[in-house]
Symmetry: C2
Subunit: 385 residues, 2 copies
């Protein structure tokens, strides 16, 4: 109602917030932009204007005074809470979480064969300190805390989140929502201040370790449910795991494919940027980048190469390597000083720099984009060149 | 004491249980044998005589009447329980769990460069229905149930298990031990009967989703501890994640490497066996095998190829695909009828059959063994040929 009134008939995006236009803009309406890749290594916590933005619709405007978050069981509303309730009734938790679009690094898949979606480089990823209450505390307050009751008796398997930007919704498996080690937030702060509209304020769900599409912005309804969320972003083809040999979605029932939740191990080189010139007079080059894995799985190693993967050496892990076991919700920075083989120390020689990471469950990145290619162009975690 | 008395001075293995010698025997003393690979597809639950065996020492003999499991906090014993206590005081849980030796498929790494350890083919993996009480219930009974107290106040980070086959011990991170979704068992039954000595009876810890070395056999002591278990199998080089470029362990401090816990996504072809002859008159060949991933991560897809990975098709997932989300503790069977390309339908042509799996966190198997090679020869999850 209020929302509709504020939207110009000429341009549904007229009410979007002002933006600094940092980083590569992949789409103006809806607005989608990367973080500034070369500045990542200097910013473990991404400054808010630099945080990547990924919208599917115009940015809604909530009236915070009237805003209520509804908690529901299937179709029945159980409770509604204000942001003040969230702040005053529940313990506040605050920690860094890396959000990554499932489409991050899609650009590289397009070189194998055309894929659908925005042409993200390796900057659809950022880290903020998210603050709020634990979803499990809120669920317990509503009487949903008895896990066995929910799961075994009521058949609940998913917790669904609906955003103000209808019809957007998404859901997560109930074990992630209820586990003491899941750390899902009903967030109301980002980097120590109220969450800006751009990033989902007043209330955003933060699902650490999952693709960012589950961290529903402007969340106004949380539902305990037998089924997954109903939108195309949950049940449709958008965020499903499709095989490389599926070259069309015609005749494909999306329900036969698995919804993406936790993301696989991934990494990227931020410096030097592709096409840039490096001085190799001293015989070495310094590489810097990020590594991250889904499910809170710590990064245990990053390997780098300057000869396209013929020889490798280990990078030094920096910030993020200190995160708790199986609770590495934020990325791990890495840096390596790599000796350039003598035969490559010539003017005009092109170095094929690449990196690959390993996580604590000993999953490795796959070598070639061909192996992970999929028509939606998501979850590209092949070696980064 | 009793144990030592029963061991012949001539042969410390003289008291080992009698065995059927099914499957390839990789070592007689201590006894190490694979399951029967070609029979896997007919046996979702591995019959006990066919279960792979992996011993580091002679098989100890516990006197069940006197057997006590000690629960301890660091050096202080808190409680001791008999197997009768475990049976009568705690709720019984029973479900199929696949155990896999971290060294499974080591044989293939040896073709890249020599590695240490037993030359396992793809049969150091089996599945049993393990029954017992939940470790978390036992820990709660001892007063260890308050997770925040253990973690935040006492600094406990690991739960350690000591076996009767001293000095064997192993540990797991506390979140796995305490999570409602971790399903760690203090097991006293295997396939519906008391656990045979061979497989760790009277009491074996079962850590679903982790390398089998953490499922400590003949467990006599459980310790809540700040540090990991002390044996070489936990802190030493045996089960650490080492990079491909580490060609010697001389001068390497094992504490600088990460202990393996959850295993990565893996799969193997059980039929046809390498070197066997297939009749391609009808233009197709039937492949069968297993797929499994650590951490309870469900297998969502298996791809197969008969031309060495040039073309792929999806396999049909069979038993195991029905397992609960993020609780796929047992393997998933798969089967595929693959059309043989006309140019390969000739007598004497060698088919390069291979498979690769994807799990629910969208991790893929790496393509080549070179990428995962490590001197200990563990966690080979490259495409299986
Ligand atoms: Mo996304
Ligand atoms: Mo093992």
């Amino acid at each position: 109602k209020e929302l509709e009134a504020s939207i110009s008939l000429d341009d549904p995006f007229a009410n979007d917030p002002p933006r600094a236009n940092l980083g590569a803009v992949r789409c103006q309406k809806p607005y989608n932009s990367e973080t500034v890749i070369e500045l990542i290594p200097d910013n473990y916590i991404t400054p808010i204007p630099m945080h990547y933005k990924r919208h599917h619709h115009p940015v809604p405007q909530a009236n915070e005074a009237d805003f209520r978050l509804v908690l529901a069981f299937e179709d029945a509303n159980i409770l509604q809470v204000s942001t003040e309730d969230l702040r005053s009734r529940f313990k506040k938790h605050e920690f860094p979480v890396t959000l990554q679009c499932a489409g991050n690094r899609r650009q590289e898949l397009n070189k194998v064969a055309p894929v659908q979606g925005l042409e993200w480089d390796c900057g659809a990823i950022s880290t903020a300190v998210w603050g709020g209450c634990l979803l499990r505390d809120v669920l317990e307050f509503t009487g949903f805390g008895d896990e066995s009751a929910l799961i075994e008796r009521a058949g609940v398997k998913h917790i669904c989140f609906e955003g103000l930007d209808k019809p957007y919704d998404a859901s997560i498996p109930i074990d992630k929502a209820l586990s003491k080690f899941g750390d899902v937030l009903v967030a109301y702060e980002m980097n120590g201040a109220p969450i800006p509209r751009e990033h989902g304020g007043p209330v955003r769900i933060i699902v650490p370790g999952h693709l960012a599409a589950r961290s529903v912005k402007w969340c106004e309804r949380i539902t305990a449910s037998k089924g997954e969320g109903h939108s195309g972003w949950q049940r449709g083809i958008a965020y499903k795991g499709a095989p490389a040999y599926m070259r069309t979605f015609d005749g494909v029932d999306p329900e036969t494919l698995t919804s993406v939740q936790e993301l696989p191990v991934n990494s990227a080189i931020c410096l030097p940027r592709p096409g840039s010139t490096v001085d190799v007079d001293d015989g070495s080059v310094t590489l810097k980048g990020w590594a991250w894995s889904g499910g809170g799985r710590n990064i245990i190693r990053v390997d780098v190469s300057v000869d396209g993967g013929k020889t490798w050496q280990g990078a030094d892990l920096g910030r993020g390597a200190e995160q708790g076991q199986n609770r590495a919700w934020a990325w791990t920075f890495w840096e390596a000083e790599v000796d350039i083989p003598p035969e490559l120390r010539k003017p005009g020689v092109e170095l094929d720099i690449c990196c690959r990471a390993v996580d604590v469950s000993m999953n490795h990145q796959p070598e070639r984009p061909e192996a992970v290619w999929n028509l939606r162009g998501i979850m590209n975690n092949s070696y980064h060149h």
